[in-house]
Amino acid sequence: MDGTQRLRDLAVSESGFVFDPYTGHTFSLNQTGRVVLEALRGGASVDQIVADLREGFAVDPGTDLARDVREFLLLAREQGWTTAQAEVP
């Protein structure tokens, strides 16, 4: 199993409800969380995800989006969905 298989196997609904079929855990994502997760599933880098968020949402100029995305990545690693090695830098 490669480092992002778990990420691809997540069941994600339109409403942002996430089911992890490996552990049985469920999560609720807001709209931006869903965009980040889908981008990660698509193999996007942190920079690409930040660009997507800036394009899709009204973001305060002072918001550190890259930090928020990295925090999301840490949570994803904690769940075993991805590994540092597998992530696109």
Partner: protein, 358 residues
């Protein structure tokens, strides 16, 4: 010709469906969910008030009382002979740990009468017993918690460093109590002995998430099917009241290893703990279907039906994949019955049901 191409009568035990339910109702519902099964289902119960006996809508045709396991093999043999004369049985699926030794002993005789079973051997049953978990783990290449088999309460005061507190005190058949220190462990020891007898098992406590796997082995080292589940809701007795089917390859691999190492024949439930570090520890193997086995049928693997087919001599075939994310959510319902039903069971030990929709 397949042994399952004719109307069958399948007997199922374990109909005590309380908040700690026996597996019988789940097994019967699974059989009734199988389109190929058009036969009759006979319930074998220990008490006239075992609630599954009154569950007309689950597809029970008849109910009979059988003697408690403590009454011995001879009493069970004679009762089964009488039931078989009244309602000829093709297959019997025992679902309780405590009755398995007697059914295993009677297996050959039942076969001669025309009643098939698909049970583990006595040696397999012994190997998976809680007292032999370490040996089983070593044989199957599965990590198990450190444990010691106790026969004297005083032993809890001199457990070695491999068994620090808290630890889990377990009965040989059922029951598990987390003890924070030797005094609690001694009290749990005595309570366990009073209920289940000796020996008692002191098992190392590990924090983590418990997963349960219902599975069927073909008796040749192969796995016919398996569905892992994570409990979502527990009763105050720690029993699952809701759960979800999951597809963690490590859990399925553990089940495969168990079957390969033991050549287990029949149904079982593996209890596996996943620690925060991602280790998988086999905690226990129950030698029968769990109460939640209907989830497996709902998720796409009808394991009780597979056992019926195997009992009748159909060749083992791997079951289709199951759907992770399938849930079970249990419900408690008040069933309405007639005093005549209770009278029939209390006096004659038998009840004929007019099934809904039959």
């Amino acid at each position: 010709m397949s042994g399952t191409s004719r109307p069958l009568t399948v007997a199922v035990t374990g109909l005590n469906a309380t908040d700690n339910p026996a597996p019988g109702v789940g097994v019967i519902r699974s059989l009734r969910a199988e389109p190929a099964f058009q036969g009759r289902v006979v319930g074998l119960a220990y008490d006239a008030l075992d609630s599954g006996l009154y569950a007309r809508d689950i597809g029970l045709d008849e109910g009979f009382l059988i003697p408690y396991p403590s009454q011995g093999v001879e009493a069970l043999r004679e009762r089964l002979r009488a039931i078989h004369a009244e309602a000829p049985l093709d297959v019997v699926i025992p679902t309780l740990d405590s009755e398995l030794p007697a059914f295993i002993e009677l297996e050959g005789e039942l076969r001669r009468w025309g009643i098939q079973t698909f049970l583990p051997t006595r040696a397999q049953l012994e190997l998976r017993s809680k007292a032999h978990l370490a040996e089983l783990g070593a044989r199957a290449g599965l990590e198990v918690p450190a444990q010691r088999v106790l026969t004297d309460a005083a032993e809890v005061f001199r457990l070695g460093p491999e068994l620090p507190y808290p630890l889990v005190v377990k009965g040989v058949f059922y029951g598990a109590t987390v003890a924070q220190g030797p005094d609690e462990a001694a009290a749990a020891f005595h309570a366990t002995v009073a209920r289940w007898g000796l020996p008692v098992i002191a098992q190392r406590f590990h924090a983590g998430e418990e997963y349960d796997v219902v599975a069927v082995g073909d008796g040749r080292g192969g796995m016919v099917g398996a569905v892992p589940m994570r409990k979502l809701l527990l009763t105050d007795k720690g029993k699952g009241w809701a759960g979800v089917a999951v597809k963690d390859p490590s859990l399925l691999d553990a089940a495969r290893r168990f079957f390969a190492a033991t050549a287990w024949r029949g149904p079982c439930e593996l209890e596996i703990l996943r620690t925060a570090e991602g280790r998988y520890l086999l905690i226990e193997v129950n030698p029968r279907f769990p109460a939640w086995c209907f989830l497996a049928a709902g998720a796409g693997q009808n394991l009780p039906w597979a056992v019926v087919r195997l009992a009748l001599g159909d060749p083992p075939t791997a079951l289709p994949d199951f759907r992770a994310g399938t849930l079970f959510v249990r419900i408690a319902l008040d069933q309405i019955a007639s005093i005549d039903d209770l009278q029939a069971l209390a006096t004659a030990g038998a009840l004929r049901l007019a099934r809904e929709g039959a």
